[in-house]
Symmetry: C2
Subunit: 404 residues, 2 copies
């Protein structure tokens, strides 16, 4: 039998046994979404580099507007007009104002903007202000967004779409990022044929190469596929050696159990060491984590659904470890629609379909026999029934981790 570890023990093992790999490169900002920062990003300039109006209107000294109203406007002398994209010239002195468009520079002397809606142009070189403003109103100050020396992003941050704007504003056109780890993918099994082929008697298509490739690429890896290897120890050993020379980590699906034909465990042992064989989870129990030449080798179950879960739960954290980042996920709270049983002494991962009704989210567990690949299709995510829990009843609030 396998001597199993809990998922938590496996995550700790990953952190203990593997380190960040060191490669850095520059990538254009337009390709930076999903990449991991290799360095802190510190500002070198003020953003914006000038006091900036956020409205169309008049730059004023706020105190000159105090007490004004519709019936008693503050009458200010128009001393200038600021053009977009040009610096402001001149000074807004006492009882003066300057016309400034949205985004234009607020001239020196002024400390607030009055929106054009609260003004009247008397046409004689003076402007009536009918609503007082507080200092700082309707403008941002130089450096309000970013000041020189300020750290905006830390090394190890995975850049998201919402981070791109700040980098663009700071002029970071080339972004220092970690080289994406290269994950090698090997499928083993005498029964496998490429997905383009029609399976003969007793054969099935190699689902895992394609599925794990998609999963690892979405997680931020580069991927190299090594195709289908027959259930022969020497052939697997050779392919693993080749993959280890080129890749930063290797996933082998199939042959991860303890049967006579399950070669993964033995091949890893010949070339390095097995750190674990078996995880107390369902699906996915017959999982191997090995270390060969300092690189992680994951032996995944051949069942695609199990391989999918093990990859998500352990190969992706391994990838993050190599890339020097941690992933935060934000589970969705949903109401379980059916009772589910579990008394396996192992953490049970179960896919769910989600639906919204009246601002609540409902989760219908995916029921299927082990290994049916269609049980993943259309599901939105999964939840975990902890190993010491015997089941959950309909109506229970669960935390659903989204797949994508």
């Amino acid at each position: 039998m396998l001597k199993v570890k809990t998922p938590q023990e496996v995550w700790e093992l990953i952190d203990r046994e593997f380190q960040m790999i060191s490669g850095k490169e520059l990538t254009p900002l337009s390709d930076a979404v999903g990449r991991v920062l290799a360095e802190d990003i510190c500002a070198g300039e003020f953003v914006p580099d000038f006091n900036r109006s956020t409205v169309d209107g008049y730059a004023v000294r706020a105190r000159d507007t105090f007490g004004c109203s519709d019936s008693i406007p503050a009458v200010l002398t128009l001393c200038g007009q600021v053009s977009m994209g040009k610096g402001a010239t001149g000074l807004v002195g006492e009882d003066m104002c300057a016309a400034v468009p949205t985004g234009g520079e607020v001239p020196d002397g002024a400390d607030a903007m009055v929106m054009i809606e609260y003004t009247e142009d008397y046409g004689d070189g003076t402007i009536g202000i009918v609503k007082p403003v507080a200092p700082g109103a309707n403008m941002v100050y130089r450096g309000d967004d970013v000041k020189p020396g300020q750290t905006i992003f830390c090394a190890g941050t995975r850049l998201m779409v919402q981070d791109i704007g700040a980098l663009a504003a700071m002029g970071v056109a080339q972004v220092p990022v970690m080289v994406q780890p290269l994950a090698g993918i090997i499928s083993t099994g005498d029964e496998l044929v490429p997905i383009e082929d029609t399976p003969g008697p007793g054969q099935i298509r190699d689902v895992n190469s394609m599925l794990l490739r998609a999963e690892m690429m979405q997680a931020g890896a580069r991927v190299k596929e090594y195709g289908i290897v027959r259930d022969q120890e020497d052939m697997l050993a050779e392919t693993l050696q080749e993959a280890l020379q080129e890749c930063d980590m290797v996933l082998i699906s199939g042959g991860s159990s303890v049967g006579a034909k399950d070669a993964t465990c033995r091949v890893i042992q010949q070339q390095g060491e097995n750190l674990l064989h078996g995880i107390a989870m369902k699906p996915g129990k017959p999982t191997i984590l090995g270390k060969v030449e300092g690189k992680p080798v994951v032996g995944l179950p051949g069942h695609p659904v199990a391989a999918f879960f093990v990859t998500k739960l352990f190969a992706v954290p391994l990838l993050d470890r190599l890339a020097g980042t941690k992933r935060h996920t934000w589970p969705v709270t949903a109401i379980l629609e059916e009772n589910v049983g579990a008394n396996h002494g192992r953490a049970q991962y179960m896919g769910v379909f989600l639906r919204k009704e009246k601002n609540k989210i409902y989760a219908k567990p995916v029921r299927s026999k082990s290994g049916l690949i269609t049980s993943l299709a259309g599901a939105a995510g999964y939840f975990c029934i902890e190993r010491d829990c015997e089941g959950l009843s309909a109506g229970t609030e669960i935390s659903v981790e989204l797949y994508g």
Copy 2:
């Protein structure tokens, strides 16, 4: 003043005014994640195409094992051995069994698998079974996963990683998908310089081109940038014409308000019609939706944060409409950490930082002045304070839509 519509009215307008555009193409399965199916995917074969064992063990007729136990094993005659990837030959008759590896074919006659752990090989051509099995145990039947004629995915489905396995199992190596709509992006403003440049007095970098590009690409669009256009109606008109000839939709950021230099509204009116000018939301009120030559043109505010929200809330649904799909999002339930006020009569969208503590998720609202681009950086998502709500107190459960 703008005559504003509510967000809900805008979404209905989008559905009413625009239709799916028709292009289809084939894409390799390896590139299919994120693409929208152009046709239903129906199965043409059985998956698996044979009764398949899910364990290492012996194929039996379940009824021959009834009543057996450790002390009184059922003794069955071994009539064959199935190899992986080869069809099973022969028939499992009464009181007979055949050795079958995990994933191997269960021979005709047998209707269950006994795990090897519950058997004993007596070495004389007979096998002892010490635990009874029910019919169908430890195996999947031919077509359990997929049967010919079964619709597995409907046209309009956006393919996710978890869908790839089912397509691989069915041999869909080339996937019929919608051509990704091409979104043209135009930035307008005399104050803008390319992000590579150092802004001069009164200038800022063109954040929106890069930010909207990233946002639209993540949402599944192809993107073409038309660069920075100065605040001149004729130049904007010309660039919009060019973009409309090449693209399926156009986003123009900047100049969407009602000032003298705000050309977007007038240019759309010259070439087509404005469907709306102004949305009752914050940020993002001065938004335009136009229709020129049947194609949507979105006039976005110049403030990057406002442009980001308007793109997420309206340009992405427009994209989905053109691509013939609907997007489902699953908001995260979080506990608001601070009071937030709002009494604008408009839906107020606010970014949040999230953190987990003891299985609960807490949301800290992003406080910043209008238009500060760093207020997006590092935030995980946003929530909406409805237009008729005056604010929310700390401790309230909110629904957070994730950015990525």
